[in-house]
Symmetry: C2
Subunit: 193 residues, 2 copies
């Protein structure tokens, strides 16, 4: 935010919990708008998440297929998961990749981040790349049903062009893959932690 | 969903409203997992939305800057808004573009769509392109504070590479812009409605 954004900024004057105790934590804030009038903002509080673009040595990518109940369909997604309290994003990416697909990676690079529902959630998703992959057994939680899929970037790109890849974090990760692979958006690699 | 996804599919056995009457509508469903065990899924019910990539004749794009309270910051976004009941997505795109930026467009093309929070919202966002733009006065609602920004695609791309463009729908729209402008993902244009 620049210092001359006073014509856009809202100021919080009160906050109440609207929903808690289940999966979603929802708050409602009372805010003063730039013109001094009052309004309310209701949104989901989220710990943040990490999505991983795992690059196999043969050029393929590691993805997952998973039932997404709100959409009543299976989505194709890059491996991802929520941050645990105090967990560094790279460690979260390593943990989720291992748990959900069984892969571990020798090198990691932070790409970017995204806000996936800025109107009603404070969720931010960190985008990481992983390479130097070694396969192993997945370590899914009880009640977790996830299928690992290996796919060439051109196949993933074709799915996206036809509207068959709809997960936002996966599409943003595909943007990163395209811009990185053509040399426009460089990555800085570092060892696994 | 293919017919052989039985190992992933969850079946709803009960549903209750958890939050209503404000901005967010939250439900909690009881589901049977693929192994027959029971679990709950809590998520936001959303009418869906449209995001527009407005292409000016001089090559620039029309974007907006807007305070996003959940994130406590101003985000740079393509014009977007929620579907009204029964509203066709193109009409929603035309309405939101006009209301928020004052621009109307002669030609429209449907690009793709995205699910921005598949774990906890049924929101889908339709991505449209618009060209043949004519400027006019914005028609913001009372209590709406939005700033229009004109920007070359290369500037937007540079912001994204530096982590300064974080809105998911805008990043996915940028992916579409890249793939369309290099000829990989064609668009089919049609007149405004």
């Amino acid at each position: 935010m620049s210092t001359d954004d006073a014509h856009l900024v809202e100021r919080t004057v009160a906050s109440e919990v609207r929903l808690t105790g289940g999966f979603l934590h929802v708050v409602r804030d009372t805010v003063l708008l730039p013109d001094g009038s009052e309004s309310t903002r209701e949104y989901v509080r989220h710990p943040g998440a990490v999505v991983v673009v795992p690059l196999l040595d043969d050029g393929r990518l590691v993805l997952e297929r998973q039932w997404r109940h709100p959409l009543q369909r299976v989505l194709l997604e890059f491996p991802a998961g929520k941050l645990e309290a105090g967990e560094p994003p790279q460690v979260c990416g390593q943990r989720e990749l291992l748990e959900e697909t069984g892969y571990s990676a020798r090198e990691w690079a932070h790409a970017g981040w995204l806000h996936n529902a800025c109107a009603y959630s404070n969720e931010g998703i960190d985008v990481w790349f992983a390479r130097g992959l070694t396969a192993g057994p997945a370590q899914l939680d009880v009640g977790e049903f996830v299928e690992t899929v290996l796919m060439h970037p051109a196949e993933l790109d074709a799915l996206a062009s036809r509207g068959e890849l709809t997960d936002a974090k996966t599409l943003v990760a595909l943007l990163w893959w395209h811009r990185w692979s053509c040399g426009a958006w460089p990555l800085q690699w570092q060892p696994a932690r």
